[in-house]
Homo-oligomer: 506 residues x 2
């Protein structure tokens, strides 16, 4: 293809389109501009935008509106950031070159096995944003339904680690934990890290922000302390305190994982292989050595049966071993939310209540955190088998965990007070009875409609637990919001259809 | 979900974005507009735009630029047309409702078989544009690589016919032909239809426009006569003349096929099942009963080996029989272009030269058309076995085919003269030798870079055939273009890399 000969009819001036297409890079060009005509670009063409040695693949959307002129190329937010533009730069836009890795994608679609080198070629292109959304969806589909065997899952996981940045620690063992999501309020990380760090165990924790949930661990921690740390700051905190709770998104750790998650969510395919590769690649990239994985099981959790949890656990352990990670899995009760708050600040308040050993602190959150911390202390060799829970409990109850948490927050930039929402609304029980079920998914959605995680103060508080007796008119849920409109909208959602809290008449 | 309660914070005014996203409906909204905030829309959210009882699924792109105001929703061209808007209408934008058919898509991804009802539910949603591009890519991937068995291909084909419009004819047998693409200049349809119609055989031909090629049959015919016919006009022409050559895109014939093709092309997956369902569903929808399918085989054609052609032929014949179509397949030489012109007008000139029996008419185009017409005359029972070719030849040589072609053109709105390009450039042989190979794909691309099919006069003319001797400096290809810039660009492409016409030294 002719991409840089003298016949090229010219370049285009960079302009920020101020259009958010999530992670899909889009370039907007006048359909009658010289470059579109000369290159024969059709709408949705896969092109490459080139500036200063960087090449960003993008989808072309052709514009005939006057906001764009004939010598401009406007870029969606993702493309703008990938190219690091200021505005006015001279850009080249050309046909995307065919990717060699697509032949491995086709091979997988046709049912063949991929070795490490093929996986690496594909994952390298995925991690660098070179595959279109259609190709990403094809890859995810071709790997779902048990179509990856264990050697392929290992190759995939290794490749995901190898194409990104990898953090190394001078200390050992480096401990980590992970929860296979789907359970609102399950913010044990903010308790587990200070407990084990206070016991002298190393746990440099990186966490994600919410993707589809009302709060990620990083969002919750951010209401208490800064979480966007550069690697030097993170190392300094870990060296001094033994642990940190940082946002993991800025370090290009397993970058292909972030790209794949973007298409996996809307496709809603349960792919055990992708889940295992996603979780373990992030852990390996961040330098963890021993990982405890919490798998909540319940009808409205991500994993819905003990059988599914056991299959997942077996795969996590064996793939982990193949890439050098010691993995243990604990199956937990996923039938109802953990703690009371759902949303960044409301969850942070639960965490602080547990650390302060307040009498009204949510006991379920405390107990889960102690159980996980105990297991980690045993895995790290800090406590003998069967004694981890007691050590964790002593560490929390003595106030050492609180002291450690405050020190970690200060190291990350300073402890702060979580914000409070301006508007609240109580949802009360229509009749008397006993709590029969709580719908995790609809409760999470209500918290999001109230404004979480965009407004850190927004969300929901659940006042009842499974099996508790309830009187008519007793508060079940309190919605928290920064805007009356959102509060009304969340309330209408809670009151629609089947109740989020099912009350069985007694 | 609350979608029409009193808490809805309002509607948005329709505005034409004048952005061409090909067939992907996109809605542009200010990220801080009341609806985005209240609904919790994220970028790339799948939403439904509702106006006047119509619901169009769309992808949300969030805008922060000033060209869009907070009470407006701007729509891409496809979305605009699907909703039939004028501008200023009051629109509702809400979360897309979950599609029941996605559970069948997931079942297929997980390796289960789909029956007719499941296929129908999926194809109905696909044909109505309710699936996102990601889901379409997942469907195409899940069906590729031999993952549909024959009953599933039959179910898919039937469903594709059933969810669209179906044309019925009062005459029988209704004949049809199809070419499995990839061969530039193979415009036999414009000869076959007048020959068989002149012999009293019914052939109401609908053809497609170019998708990735420099000309579709409808594009070529359009340089000679109107092809966008309503069904009444088409019926009138067929009743009077026995045949027509119309564009098939306006009648919603197998609409899911058009949607699937849009994602299949960029994925570049060779899916025999999808190809069979695509071809046969279009034929059944247009009311054909007996279909002759031309499968060119060659290293740069769509089908690259005789073995692949035989497998495809077997599937076409048996799936055809299952849905009531009598299918015959003829394997033809696909090693080089047919005729000389590549591009709508240039191909039309070849066709007219054959119809006029001019001495310089391309003999390969003439011979292929006569062979196909002869087979069709035999399939229709109009000629005894072994005599069809002679009847076709007599019909062409007597001028009856030309008379019939002119009558068909007049019926469709009037015969016209194809346009001629303003600029041409000759590509000459660098050295002497013999033509060893012609790259169909690169030749087609050169014709597109010259402007075809957007400029009907643009394209390429190839002056040599395989095996012919060539002198140094002898013209090999002439490029035709309406713009000097495009001509230069096409020329640079032809002169780059390996030559399109390979000359073996003698």
């Amino acid at each position: 293809m002719v991409t840089n000969g003298s016949v090229l009819p010219g370049r285009l001036r960079a302009r920020r389109a101020l259009i958010d297409t999530y992670q899909q890079p889009v370039v907007y060009m006048r359909s009658d501009c010289a470059v579109c005509l000369a290159e024969g670009f059709e709408a949705q063409a896969q092109v490459e935008v080139v500036f200063d040695g960087r090449q960003v693949p993008a989808t072309l959307h052709r514009v005939d509106a006057d906001w764009l002129s004939h010598d401009e190329a406007a870029l969606s937010e993702t493309a703008w950031q990938l190219l690091g533009l200021q505005g006015g730069e001279s850009l080249q836009v050309r046909h995307a070159r065919p990717l060699e890795s697509l032949k491995f994608l086709r091979a997988k679609v046709y049912g063949r096995k991929l070795d490490y080198d093929s996986m690496h070629a594909l994952i390298d292109d995925i991690g660098h944003g070179r595959l279109s959304d259609l190709h990403l969806a094809a890859f995810v589909t071709a790997c779902a339904g048990g179509r990856l065997d264990e050697p392929e899952i290992v190759a995939l996981t290794r490749a995901m680690v190898d194409v990104g940045h990898r953090i190394q620690w001078p200390l050992s063992p480096v401990m980590d934990k992970h929860c296979v999501g789907g359970l609102p309020g399950n913010r044990t990380t903010l308790l587990v890290v200070p407990i084990v760090a206070a016991c002298g165990v190393v746990m440099p924790k990186t966490s994600s922000r919410a993707i589809t949930s009302p709060a990620g661990t990083a969002d919750t921690m951010e209401t208490l302390a800064p979480v966007t740390l550069d690697e030097a700051t993170m190392r300094r905190v870990v060296e001094r305190e033994g642990g940190c709770i940082a946002w993991g998104g800025s370090a290009r750790l397993s970058p292909a994982d972030d790209v794949l998650i973007r298409v996996e969510r809307p496709l809603d395919l349960d792919s055990e292989a992708q889940l295992v590769a996603s979780v373990l690649s992030k852990k390996a990239a961040v330098g963890s050595e021993r990982v405890l994985i919490d798998v909540p099981v319940g009808p409205t959790a991500k994993v819905r049966s003990s059988a599914a949890a056991r299959s997942l656990a077996a795969s996590l352990v064996s793939v982990g071993a193949a890439i050098g990670l010691q993995v243990e899995v604990v199956e937990t009760d996923g039938r109802q939310p953990v703690g009371r708050g759902i949303g960044p600040a409301l969850e942070a308040l639960d965490v602080m209540a547990v650390l302060h050993r307040r009498s009204d602190a949510p006991q379920d959150l405390r107990e889960r955190a102690l159980m996980l911390a105990g297991r980690l202390l045993e895995m790290a060799g800090r406590a003998a088998h069967g004694t981890g829970l007691a050590l964790a409990t002593r560490t929390l109850d003595s106030g050492l965990a609180l002291v450690k948490f405050i020190a970690i927050c200060e190291g990350q930039g300073g402890l702060r007070e979580p914000p409070r929402a301006q508007h609240t609304e109580v949802v009360a029980a229509a009749g008397a009875g006993r709590v029969g079920a709580i719908d995790n998914r609809r409760l999470a959605r209500a918290a999001k409609l109230a404004g979480a995680p965009h407004d850190p103060a927004a969300g929901a508080v659940i006042h009842v637990r499974l099996g508790e007796p309830v009187a008519a008119g007793q508060p079940l849920i309190t919605l928290h919001s920064q805007a009356p409109g959102q509060l009304a909208y969340a309330l209408a959602y809670v009151n629609s259809q089947t109740p989020i809290v099912a009350i069985d008449p007694t």
